[in-house]
Amino acid sequence: MRLNGTEVVDTFAEAFPMWGARIVVTAESRAWAGEAARSLTGFATSVIGCKCEAGIERELEPGETPDGRPGASALLFANDREGLAKRLVERVGQSVLTCPTTACFNGLDGEETVDVGGQLRFFGDGYQASKVLDGRRYWRVPVMEGEFLVEERFAVAEGVAGGNIIILGRDVAEALGAAEAAAAAMQAVRGVILPFPGGIARSGSKVGSRYSALIASTNDALCPTLRAQVPHTDVPPGIGSVFEIVIDGLTLEAVREAMARGLEAAAGAGAARVSAGNYGGDLGPHHIELRGLVPGLEG
């Protein structure tokens, strides 16, 4: 298949269920809200090594936040509900509670909730106080700067992790330029995050390793330098660099939308080839076919 001259491999991305939450962080300034959101979502590229995957969904205008201050919304995903609850407490506690002028709110609607503020309140050492407004409980935790306000319960929902597109180019400049364009287009979709640095991973992995201690290792079939060395390669002749963009989303529709926008943007930015990663279809319940993802795919 071809799109704007870019070859699109007739394959699919294999995605998995993962539990997600949306965290709204506000602060006195856009800068401090951004600092808190970056810290909250730091070191969260992959559940394999970080126990969760997280990213900033978007900046929020003062009119969009519960307290009328500038803010940011972040999404955080983990393998199960309990793990997500632990990561939320850890990360809100270490990265938002500590950050000057911030407050932290649940940003997701849903019946199923986990306790976050209700755990963090104990930092107040007995001086904490709660307020209930419109059916939601908030905790006021006294801190040296003033007061940290955090919502007690955060909604969690089953989302989709592992949506992806793989972008191949003749060299690093060509592949990275296309990947940057794709990541920028995908980040505009609500309800998704791209957890890797700048949204782009250069080190896609395969399951397992020849070393028993590792559960994942380099995706040798997509390493251009190993093209002449490995028993099977997915790197066509003339390709010198490959990047992967991983997408986690609150819904399958949002992940599909992000993949579609990324595919179009990568093709528009001159990628030689676009593909997607899967495990043969035997592991993940969600198969997102590149065919039919965007209009104009020929062949």
Partner: protein
């Protein structure tokens, strides 16, 4: 057309209409509504003896007439919407648990006492002991919201345990007397001795006041939670300026005769 109850004439003695609420009237036929019992002084009478009934029972009920001597309108209601087109008597909305009760005029004393949920909106003014504890009980309102667009009398939120009381005009003496928790927001003048004997909770005042000697000044700051409350109240129609929503408040902790875990938050001029 919503169910409409029009009081034929002001009763000579107080009329008690406990149970006159949308949730209890919903699903009743006209004859059943007309046959509901009310207490006119010490006499039990039919509702239709005192009210003209029109419209159909649904989620909204409208009550009209000179209702200043009609007590317990909307008391104990759990849902739906009840509109009082004019003034209402004592105990209006007492022990409410849900729904919305809108009084377009004034309400008498003890409105919203022992309330547990829902929203009571008073477009006029309220009497004494708004959202307070019933006589002889320690705890007052335990949930829900009371919004008064006019003034309120003495002992607003006395014994308040949970919930929000907001008064756009002035409040009388001893607001939040012996309150246990919850929030009182006073946009106008505040009478003497606010928060006397309070254990926990918040009284936010937008006018200058002198705290009791048993309150101690802590600091001046912008309480993050108060922005949420004030924005919420502004959305509900109370006249709150940006300077109040975003302003600096002096925090006084008290009452020192109790736990000293309550607070007076007093807006600083130019804050």
């Amino acid at each position: 057309m919503p169910l409409k109850l029009s009081l034929r004439e002001q009763p000579a003695v107080p009329l008690e209409v406990e149970g006159l609420s949308p949730d209890r009237l919903a699903g009743l036929g006209r004859a059943e509504v007309e046959a509901l019992p009310v207490w006119h002084g010490n006499r039990r009478e039919r509702l239709a003896d005192l009210f003209a009934v029109s419209g159909d029972g649904d989620e909204e009920v409208r009550v009209e007439g000179d209702l200043r001597r009609v007590k317990l309108i909307g008391a104990g209601m759990t849902g739906g919407r009840l509109i009082v087109a004019g003034d209402a008597g004592m105990h209006t909305g007492a022990e409410m648990r849900g729904g919305e009760l809108v009084v377009e005029g004034d309400v008498g004393d003890f409105a919203g006492t022992a309330m547990r949920g829902g929203r009571l909106v008073v477009r006029g003014s309220a009497g004494q002991q708004l959202g307070a504890a019933p006589p002889g009980e320690r705890a007052g309102m335990r949930g829900g919201e009371i919004l008064v667009h006019g003034n309120a009398g003495d002992q607003v939120g006395a014994g308040l345990r949970r919930g929000l009381i907001a008064v756009a005009g002035s409040v009388g003496e001893a607001a939040g007397l012996r309150m246990l928790a919850g929030t009182i927001v006073a946009l106008g003048a505040v009478g003497a001795r606010p928060g006397a004997g309070m254990r926990r909770g918040t009284i936010a005042a937008m006018s200058e006041l002198t705290p009791l000697p048993t309150f101690a000044y802590a600091c001046s700051y912008r309480p993050p939670f108060l922005r949420l409350y004030l924005r919420h109240l502004r959305e509900l129609g109370l006249p709150l300026a940006d300077e109040q929503v975003e302003g600096r408040y002096a925090r006084w902790s008290g009452d020192g005769l109790e736990l000293r875990r309550g607070e007076l938050l007093i807006l600083e001029s130019g804050g």
